[in-house]
């Protein structure tokens, strides 16, 4: 895009600056729009599972419901509890929201359609997703109230636990793709399964890792059945209890942006990103962007489906699953994957 702005007669620095800013807007605004639509979809799926209609009043099929909710929240009064630590209380939702948008910088939506095509893209995503915990922890502490604080402690422990196994899973994918660049990872999945299927999902060594990754991404985004940080029956609304108005909305948007990010990571790492599911020329007629979107929405549907189906885990079960099941399992698979690649790709030479 820099070349385009240069052709308008700008110097290189200005062209780069304008191109980057417009790139950021081109990603952030559609992501926000997608978040609004995905919240609507979440509620529709939930409604369908529970055999009720879901939102159906505002706009055609209720599709404008999220925007109406946003407007309502925007018009509410911002209440800051007098006992709260004001600075951190206000900083927490901003951090949550910003961090949720930051990671989208390295997500490739189509071949070459990525804001920052960096070599350490996967590590960047891991780094940014490990920041998500701060918004929640700060919110819980700064509220100076019991329930948010419990929620913050839970969130911190939960997210760290599951990040460990996510890290190992990413190592497995990285070993196969031989790169940490997300575009290269997607490209290396072309025809991976039997020379036909695009995606690491059909690999016997990576399929169990995908299952673990999917469950971990539920835990990482605090979705049901791991939504212990906002378990209504125990903690009112968790870390959001003291928040109102736009501060609350920022948490809400950030949370869904994170969920969408995890869905797109599932797509990129295991299901061939923008590539069509099968390596058949006719399927390439559909733009890659559409495939990426379809797969991501499919994963979001799985997230909603699970929310509607599975009861909430107990906290000790959650910790046990993370540390005693997923961690040893993903560690074992790192060893298996590297051993297998050493044997097949690098000819067994130690």
């Amino acid at each position: 895009m820099t070349e385009f702005f240069q052709s308008l007669g700008m110097t290189y620095e200005w062209a780069w600056f304008v191109a980057t800013i417009s790139g950021i807007l081109l990603i952030a605004l559609p992501v926000m729009l997608a978040v609004a639509l995905v919240i609507y979809m979440d509620r529709k799926v939930l409604g369908a599972v529970m055999m009720r209609r879901g939102p159906n009043v505002v706009g055609p099929f209720g599709i404008l419901q999220s925007f109406a909710d946003g407007l309502k929240v925007f018009l509410q009064e911002t209440i800051i509890p007098s006992a709260a630590n004001k600075g951190i209380f206000l900083l927490a939702p901003i951090i949550t929201f910003t961090v949720a948008l930051l990671a989208w910088a390295v997500i490739p939506f189509d071949a070459g359609v990525v804001l920052a095509d960096i070599n350490v893209g996967l590590l960047y995503v891991l780094a940014i997703s490990s920041l998500g915990v701060y918004g929640i922890t700060m919110a819980g502490w700064a509220s100076n109230s019991k329930y948010p604080f419990f929620s913050a402690m839970r969130a911190a422990a939960q997210m760290i636990s599951y990040e460990v196994s996510i890290g190992f899973i990413l190592v497995c994918v990285l070993l196969y793709a031989n790169s940490a660049n997300l575009s290269v990872i997607v490209e290396s999945q072309r025809g991976h399964g039997f020379g036909m299927v695009n995606g690491y999902f059909f690999n016997l060594l990576l399929f169990p890792m995908w299952v673990v990754f999917f469950i971990s991404s539920l835990a990482e985004t605090q979705r049901a059945p791991f939504d212990l940080t906002e378990a209504e029956s125990e903690l009112v609304a968790g870390y959001q209890t003291e928040y109102s108005s736009m501060a609350f909305a920022l948490f809400w948007l950030g949370e869904y942006a994170n969920i969408l990010l995890m869905c797109s990571l599932n797509t990129l790492l295991f299901f061939g990103g923008w590539l069509p599911p099968l390596d058949i020329p006719i399927l390439y007629a559909v733009p890659g962007f559409i495939w990426f979107l379809l797969k991501t929405v499919f994963f979001f549907f799985l997230f909603s489906w699970i929310w509607a189906t599975v009861p909430r885990y107990r906290y000790d079960q959650l910790m046990r699953l993370g540390w005693k099941v997923f961690l040893p399992m993903s560690l074992l698979f790192v060893a298996l994957t590297s051993g297998w690649l050493m044997l097949t790709r690098y000819g067994g030479a130690a």
Binding site: S130, L131, M153, A180
Partner: protein
């Protein structure tokens, strides 16, 4: 542009470092520390060490500082008591600070002199030309420094096991212990009985 970014990050690192010491609330101190880590990662990106920058954020910001924050938030710190001993301990703290500064200056001086063969002051020890620094670090760690690297790993492992051994207590007898396999194997039939008592009769359980 690069110069501007450098001074921005550098000033922020030093300012947040100062705020870590100056803030009265320990939670604020930890948050400033995180800010310092973050800007240090920015500096690393500027010198082209993007791999190290990401690792700094993942390890220090994502894990270490979260645990700091976790602990500090849960401690109920008496600020008055904490500040009471400040003047008494100030000379000792100053002495330690001077020693550390002297060591730092000496260390950098010795490195500049170039007596050690570990790397060069200009940083041109990279073995693979044209490869990204992720690959370069891998090449160096797993060839030239493999034994040092493995030794560091083993030391960390020992430290981890030590920490677990020190804090682990066998309390199975006093606490209700969860047996997940047993819980999963439990079926409704094991826990409930269907009875149809006669009118006026009780139920024998």
């Amino acid at each position: 542009m690069l110069v501007f970014a450098f001074y921005l990050f550098a000033v922020l690192v030093i300012a947040s470092g100062a705020m870590v010491i100056v803030s009265k609330n320990p939670v604020h101190s930890v948050l400033w520390l995180i800010c310092a880590f973050f800007n240090a990662a920015g500096l690393m990106v500027l010198v082209g060490a993007e791999f190290l920058a990401m690792l700094l954020v993942i390890v220090y910001v994502g894990a270490v500082a979260v645990l700091f924050l976790f602990v500090v938030m849960m401690l109920n710190i008496d600020f008055a008591e904490m500040r009471a001993g400040f003047m008494k301990n100030a000379p000792l703290g100053l002495a330690i600070a001077i020693i550390l500064l002297a060591e730092l200056v000496l260390g950098i001086g010795a490195y500049r002199a170039g007596k050690l063969e570990l790397g060069t002051p200009l940083g041109d020890a990279a073995p693979v030309a044209g490869a990204s620094n992720t690959e370069n670090i891998g090449m160096l760690l797993y060839s030239d420094y493999i034994f040092l690297f493995e030794a560091a790993g083993i030391i960390l492992l020992v430290a981890m096991i030590g920490a677990i051994v020190l804090t682990h207590r066998e309390r199975r007898a006093t606490r209700g212990h969860q047996n997940i396999a047993k819980q999963n194997a439990r079926r409704p039939g094991d826990a409930t009985v269907n009875v149809k008592p006669e009118v006026g009769q009780g139920v024998e359980l």
